[in-house]
């Protein structure tokens, strides 16, 4: 785990599922004085980039051979850090093109080395690519208007993601990118866009977020093994129980690594007030989440996903709250009942009252509560 430059507002970690073979590159969590915060992750594509090639001592102390994916993510991370560092004060307009050109050049150099494309006879085919890796990068900076907002420019190729994390929003954890797969997010579809020796075509969006919103980059090792609710719960709960920033980041790293079947990488720009402010702002959300965190998400009566039967929800809510005190197993639904008129989200009762306020899908995102707009 690194504290990163400007450490009071940035942090990152990377884990290897198998020591010495991790294919996630070093994440970026860095403040550039003239530019803003940069957070980024890089996930080498192990299937498409499985071909064994000579290592490059510029990027790793490993000896012998490694996969193309292993090198690709590391080289891309180093290259993008250099490009951003050389960019200058406000010249974000050229950032996308500079990154694309530099990454292509560096990955192509790897392929041009002796045995850089692997040993003979050489495997071919559309499933394989030379030095493939995902890229997800966010540049976060205050707007010039003094309106307590931050501009977030996201650049990505693949299924690594950028999230906005704001505990006081109706949807606290939101994805700002769309996976470059056929489905656009989740599932098992192959990644259709990525960096490789053949080139890089970054997707790009810009958002305006409250200055207190955290921005997080995550590889799929972080999010793919948890439901969106459980990922949010993990971040919120660990914040509440952490002593300081280091402790929180270590806790997130360890909790995700326990369930992930993959390497993980994570980089966060905390937002105004840093870790302390984020912890303070998640307190109310945690108080709402805690009583229901044992209700299984596969249950039709999960209050955060679907509410079909108000009485059944209340029964589960009470049981979950009792079990929360003993930290025991998930509550099982007593029956399955489905309704066509399905609310999307339920606000939890703030006290012991049996009254539910159910928010339907049309209320979920109002104009005032929207996280921002894509550019």
């Amino acid at each position: 785990m690194s504290l990163a430059a400007g450490h009071e507002t940035l942090a990152s970690f990377v884990t290897e599922k198998r020591l010495g073979q991790g294919e996630d590159g070093d994440p970026i969590a860095c403040r550039y004085p003239d530019l803003g915060d940069a957070v980024a992750v890089f996930d080498g594509m192990g299937g498409a980039g499985a071909t064994q090639v000579p290592v490059d001592s510029s990027y790793t102390t490993k000896e012998g051979k490694c996969s193309m994916a292993y090198l690709a993510s590391r080289v891309t991370s180093t290259t993008i850090q250099k490009v951003i560092g050389q960019l200058g004060s406000t010249n974000l307009e050229s950032l996308k093109l500079r990154i694309e050109e530099a990454v292509k050049a560096e990955l192509a150099k790897l392929a041009e080395r002796p045995e850089g494309k692997g040993p003979e006879p050489r495997l071919r085919g559309t499933l394989l690519h030379d030095y493939p890796t995902t890229v997800a990068l966010a540049i976060v900076r205050s707007t010039l208007h003094g309106d307590n907002q931050r501009e977030v420019k996201v650049y990505w190729a693949g299924d690594s993601r950028i999230y906005a994390f704001d505990p006081e929003r109706i949807i606290p954890l939101q994805v700002l990118t769309r996976d470059h797969t056929e489905t656009g997010g989740g599932g098992d579809a192959p990644v259709e866009r990525y960096a490789s020796a053949a080139g890089l075509d970054l997707d790009e969006l810009v958002y305006l977020l409250p200055s207190t919103s955290a921005v997080i980059a995550m590889s799929d090792g972080c999010y793919a093994y948890l439901t969106p609710f459980k990922l949010m719960l993990l971040l919120v709960r660990s914040l509440q129980f952490s002593r300081d920033q280091n402790d929180w980041v270590e806790s997130v790293k360890n909790e995700i690594a326990v369930v992930a079947g993959d390497d993980t990488s994570f980089a966060i720009s905390f937002g105004e007030g840093g870790y302390e402010a984020l912890k303070r702002r998640t307190k109310t959300l945690y108080q709402k989440l805690e009583p229901v965190m044992f209700i299984p998400e596969t249950s039709e009566t999960n209050p955060f996903i679907l509410v079909h039967d108000k009485n059944q929800y209340q029964e589960l809510f009470e049981e979950s709250r009792r079990r929360c005190l003993t930290k025991s197993e998930e509550v099982s639904p007593s029956s399955e009942s489905l309704s066509d008129d399905t609310p999307v989200l339920a606000e939890l009762p703030p006290d012991d009252s049996a009254t539910l306020t159910v928010v339907t899908s049309k209320d979920v995102l109002t104009k005032d509560d929207s996280m921002g707009s894509g550019a």
Binding site: L123, G125, L127, A189, P190, A260, G261
Partner: protein
């Protein structure tokens, strides 16, 4: 507790069983008993576990001049099953013979493989076709030989239709996210077209007419594992 990734994997081996293919058929026969375990162990090293593994075999020669031009088995469940006897029996019955000239009826075999009853069970599936041949293939449009009634309805009239199936039309149970095609074959038609054009494909160009003698079991296993 680590969740890992759990797979339901179907593999269809399309094997050219003409006379020159003795080297690779010997490899297949020698490794038939250990292959399911080797695959499971290799995937475990990548933190992937196999919930179910089924294997089917389509053995082919040349419809133009071989009376026994094609045989196809059902899917044999080899994991978690411990009874490999039916699978072994079919593999051991393969006897390289005939051929002697190119091309062979590999595209017909590929068509039959596409039409397999692919699994849709479980969280993640893989539909893998592995083609072993040391020869080029007849064009489907040429309609060489007499295709037996067992297979006639499964074979399209041209490569475009075969390609459409691969890209996911509804006539097959293949799914785009699950499909993989691994070709061990020479740099000749149709492999030099399919290998570079069909999605989710890996191609190891090999020497024509040499029975894939330069392809080792470890390479076959690694290629299958890395495609998953």
């Amino acid at each position: 507790m680590s969740q890992g990734l759990k797979y339901h994997i179907d593999i269809v081996f399309c094997i050219d069983v003409t006379g020159s293919m003795t080297p690779v058929i010997d490899v297949v026969k020698n490794k038939v008993r250990s292959f399911p375990h080797d695959l499971r162990d290799a995937l475990a090293k990548k933190d992937r576990s196999v919930n179910k593994l089924r294997i089917r075999t389509v053995a082919f020669r040349d419809f133009a001049n071989d009376p026994e031009a094609m045989r196809a088995s059902d899917f044999f469940e080899v994991e978690p099953s411990t009874d490999l006897s039916k699978f072994e029996s079919f593999i051991n019955s393969l006897s390289p013979s005939g051929g002697g000239d190119e091309p062979e009826s590999a595209l017909e075999a590929l068509a039959v493989a596409q039409k397999s009853d692919w699994t849709h069970e479980g969280d993640k599936q893989r539909h893998i076709i592995v083609m072993f041949t040391d020869a080029s293939a007849h064009k489907l449009e040429s309609r060489v030989g007499e295709i037996s009634a067992e297979f006639k309805d499964q074979i399209p009239g041209n490569l475009d239709e075969l390609t459409d199936r691969w890209e996911g039309n509804q006539s097959v149970r293949l799914t785009k996210s699950a499909r993989r095609l691994l070709i061990f074959g020479p740099d000749a038609y149709p492999w030099n077209v399919i290998g570079d054009a069909w999605g989710q494909t890996v191609w190891l160009p090999s020497q024509a007419g040499k029975g894939l003698e330069d392809v080792e079991y470890a390479t076959i296993l690694d290629t299958i594992v890395n495609s998953i």
